[in-house]
């Protein structure tokens, strides 16, 4: 038995020593590689910066003629620059990438067996906004690896080809679906031409698809879809979808949204929907929503009353006047009842007080400064 121990000790010592040496070796190799890469990248980086500073007027040929090793050392930085550039400089840098064959290689890599290579290729094609790659990127929306699918969605968003909208929507309805927020953002990036597709998808049987399309319509500011979104708010069977409809009616900012939103805050509706609709009434930015919001200030549900008060605050002067009027009325009632204005405010007055106070300390104060928070001081203010 002692022999087993002895052998184990020898083996352990050997592995410990090897691990220690491994740590040193890893550091040495990394440092050497970093030095070499920095050396190789220094020249191309200077040329790259001069090229984009000059809006791509001069130096493109030199960049295309760079040896592969030097270009590879600077490529990550160049790709990073792409996201920060606009206009001529962006187009010129893209042309350098295309002339160097980066897009061709990336298109090839989209069919690589390695998921990392497929994802990297999709990222590059998105950065270069290669429209030719859209069908292949759409194919990657059903890739067996989630991370490849995610990168393909982002790439499609950067390219902004509206023909990809249906494929993106369809990708939401699969067993391992894509992140909703990502698809929503991408659908919005595809531009206003997708409005018809998104509007049609509001009848999709899958609730998640309907919610994503509502959010995308909201981001696009698709005012032409207000009636369809309002119908979803009234009739959809899924609460989360109705909440999304309410929120996006607020984003769309059309006056025609007042009636469905006012209906949604009514009693008997679920509290999260009423809170979302109250918030949306504030987002609309029109004083027509004030009476409905004032009625919610005393609601038993904290979130509903809270959202109503802050929606009134965001509405500016008409909302703030309404909040003050609530406090005035309560103060008058208290005086009439002989309780004095220092009495504990009601729930409605409490929420009104909170919203008014926040309005007074914001960057653009729309209300008088708060006192120590007593009802009489605020009413007087």
């Amino acid at each position: 038995m002692l022999r087993v121990f002895t052998v184990t000790i020898v083996v352990l010592i050997a592995i410990v020593a090897l691990t220690g040496l491994g740590i040193v070796a890893v550091r040495l190799v990394r440092q050497a590689r970093q030095r070499k890469r920095a050396l190789l990248a220094a020249g191309p980086r200077r040329a790259l910066l001069a090229f984009v500073a000059d809006n791509g007027a001069d130096g493109g040929h030199d960049l295309v003629a760079l040896p592969d090793e030097a270009w590879q050392a600077a490529e990550a930085g160049a790709l990073g620059l792409l996201g920060k550039l606009r206009g001529e400089a962006h187009a010129a840098l893209v042309s350098v990438f295309l002339r160097r064959g980066t897009a061709r290689a990336a298109l090839r890599d989209l069919r690589s067996r390695s998921r990392v290579r497929r994802a990297r290729a999709a990222q590059v094609l998105g950065d270069l906004e290669v429209r030719l790659a859209v069908p292949e990127l759409c194919r990657l929306l059903t890739d067996r690896h989630g991370e490849v699918r995610v990168v393909a969605v982002r790439a499609l968003g950067r390219i902004g080809d509206p023909t990809a909208a249906w494929r993106l929507i369809a990708s939401l309805d699969q067993s391992d679906p894509l992140p909703s927020l990502l698809v929503t953002h991408t659908l919005a990036q595809l531009g206003p031409e997708t409005e018809v597709t998104l509007s049609a998808a509001l009848d999709h049987p899958e609730a998640r698809v309907r919610a994503v399309c509502l959010d995308a319509l909201g981001l696009l500011g698709a005012a032409g879809s207000v009636h369809r979104v309002a119908r979803v708010l009234r009739e959809d069977s899924t609460l989360d979808v109705r909440i999304a409809a309410a929120a996006n009616l607020g984003r769309l900012g059309a006056r025609t949204a007042i009636e469905p939103l006012t209906g949604a805050v009514g009693p008997g509706r679920p509290a999260p929907l009423r809170a979302a609709a109250a918030r949306a009434l504030g987002d609309l930015g029109t004083s027509a929503g004030v009476p409905a919001l004032v009625a919610l200030l005393g609601d038993d549900e904290y979130r509903v009353a809270h959202e109503a008060a802050h929606a009134l605050r965001r509405l500016g002067r008409p909302g703030l006047d309404a909040l003050r009027s609530v406090l005035d009325t309560e103060a008058a009632e208290m005086i009439a009842a002989g309780r004095g204005t220092h009495a504990r405010p009601s729930s409605a007055a409490g929420h009104a007080l909170e919203a008014l106070s926040l309005a007074s300390v914001g960057p653009d104060p729309g209300a008088s400064p708060p006192g120590s928070g007593t009802l009489d001081e605020l009413v007087a203010g």
């Binding site: 410990v16 040193v24 994802a119 990297r120 999709a122 991370e147 990168v151 927020l181 300390v361």
Partner: protein, 482 residues
């Protein structure tokens, strides 16, 4: 004769236990290594910038409980207000500080009192005295003053006042990397339907240079006691938790830096008042709740970037911290004992919690038992000297190997310590850990667990801070904790 035989068998059992314990660590560390490799290969196309630019990125409420943090609170908040994240608010809960925590905040951020309606969505036991917001930017910074009620109570008040769908709990003395919030919230954007909570790694800030609320130069601490903790944090927190995350069995998210879905935290009743390990307890309760409802969910851990925190540099404070931590483990395992070994709770019930019982809760007891029984065996001749020294060498040698593998993986993946001297100090700390540190740690942990089982009152004690090496106003004096 019988005693000798019993001792002999016990010594062998202890030896087998050490081998199993270190093998468990090694497996977790290897899993972490695989995860880091995956993370690094994917970093170029992970989409952090897209998340930063997206209007749909979920907003976060950062909750900062503070008790007598006057020395460093302003700098910590300045750093937090400069985080790279599209939309977030900071809710500082001053838990009845007796120092100038609030005054410093009021002066620096031009706070004004506002009457806020504080909902009771999660229970809190104390009284909210006042709510303040920053003039000119009321949406971003809220400071709540309340009577003292402990960290859980302060966090619950913060959760009640949080307006955003994600709540991130951060210690007031933590220094966050600029991208920390973006990284720790990213899993919620990638997998919004399933991710319930995400923990971020906490590293030791002692010895590092902090400028403008950012760690700009990472160095090994000056004291060996803290250097040993650096190795321990790497092995147990960075590697261990990443490994558990990969296995789908993460049950600990540090209270110093963790992010949760607010609606779920509200549904399970917020932070528990009856345990000192409230951060881990919240995660176990979350697992309990979601597993009972057969929800498809994930609790994950991200290894980079990080939150930097000051580690105890004296034995007295370290002892108090470790007693508290182990007491927390004992309380949580007792509270959720029905989950242990219960197939209804999947990997949490069948793997993670049993592991915590056998290799976390009991480990210090076995370690101390070995320290007593091995010499006893030698004394009564149940084991011979040849066996004893080989036993000790293999047991501790295996432990050393585990620590070195952690350092190796750190060097391959994040290599946060750029100096050669720090590398050597790290390796030496891994060796020194076995001579005294582990043994005294075991003693503290045993008293911590005994405190939980004996029902003694839990006390946070005072954390005397040394402060970071800084050119600016980070904590240089002492600050306290409950």
């Amino acid at each position: 004769m019988i005693i000798r035989e019993i001792l002999k068998v016990t010594d062998w059992a202890i030896f087998a236990y050490f081998v199993a314990l270190n093998s468990g660590y090694l497996v977790l560390i290897c899993m972490a290594g695989l995860e880091f490799g995956k993370h690094l290969r994917r970093a170029p196309f992970a989409g952090a910038d897209d998340m930063f630019r997206s209007p749909l990125t979920l907003p976060v409420s950062v909750i900062v409980p503070a008790y007598n943090e006057g020395a460093g609170i302003v700098a910590a908040l300045q750093a937090m207000t400069a985080l790279r994240y599209p939309r977030y608010e900071i809710v500082v809960v001053d838990d009845g500080s007796t120092d100038d925590t609030f005054e410093r905040l009021r002066e620096q951020f031009d706070l004004v009192e506002v009457p806020r309606v504080v909902p009771g969505e999660v229970p809190y036991r104390t009284q909210v005295l006042s709510v303040h917001v920053a003039r000119g930017n009321p949406e971003t910074l809220t400071v709540v003053r309340k009577t003292n009620g402990g960290k859980s109570d302060a966090l619950n008040v913060g959760i009640n006042l949080a307006r955003h769908p994600l709540v991130c709990m951060v210690d007031a003395d933590s220094v966050l990397d600029p991208d920390a919030l973006l990284s720790v919230a990213k899993p919620f954007g990638d997998d919004p339907l399933r991710v319930a909570a995400c923990g971020g790694v906490v590293r030791i800030a002692n010895g590092c240079k902090v400028i403008g609320g950012r760690v700009v130069d990472v160095r090994m601490p000056r004291q060996w006691l803290v250097r040993v903790q650096v190795v321990e944090y790497l092995r147990a927190f960075l590697m261990g938790r990443t490994g558990w995350s990969r296995l789908g069995g993460l049950v600990v998210i540090s209270g110093a830096f963790g992010i949760f879905r607010r609606d779920l935290v509200v549904k399970i009743g917020g932070m528990a008042h009856d345990t000192i390990g409230e951060d881990a307890e919240l995660v176990v309760r979350l697992h309990h709740y979601l597993r009972e409802r057969r929800e498809d969910y994930r609790v994950i851990f991200v290894a980079e970037p990080v939150s930097w925190s000051e580690a105890p540099s004296s034995l007295r404070v370290l002892g108090r911290q470790r007693r508290r931590w182990h007491r927390g483990i004992a309380e949580i395992l007792r509270k959720h004992r029905r989950m242990i070994g219960n197939p209804r709770y999947g990997r949490i019930g069948l793997v993670a919690l049993p592991y915590y019982v056998v290799f976390e809760l009991l480990a210090p007891f076995i370690e101390l038992a070995a320290l007593v029984l091995l010499p006893l065996g030698l004394w009564i001749d149940a084991v011979n000297l040849e066996f004893a020294w080989r036993f000790a060498l293999v047991a501790y040698g295996y432990g050393l190997l585990v620590s070195l593998v952690s350092l190796f993986i750190e060097e391959v993946s994040f290599h946060r310590y750029p100096r050669w001297s720090d590398l050597v100090r790290g390796v030496l700390a891994a060796v020194l850990e076995n001579f005294g540190y582990r043994q005294i740690l075991a003693a503290w942990q045993v008293t911590g667990a005994a405190g939980a089982w004996g029902g003694r009152q839990a006390i946070w004690g005072t954390m005397h801070r040394q402060g970071f090496d800084t050119a600016e106003s980070l904590p240089l004096e002492t600050a306290g904790r409950r």
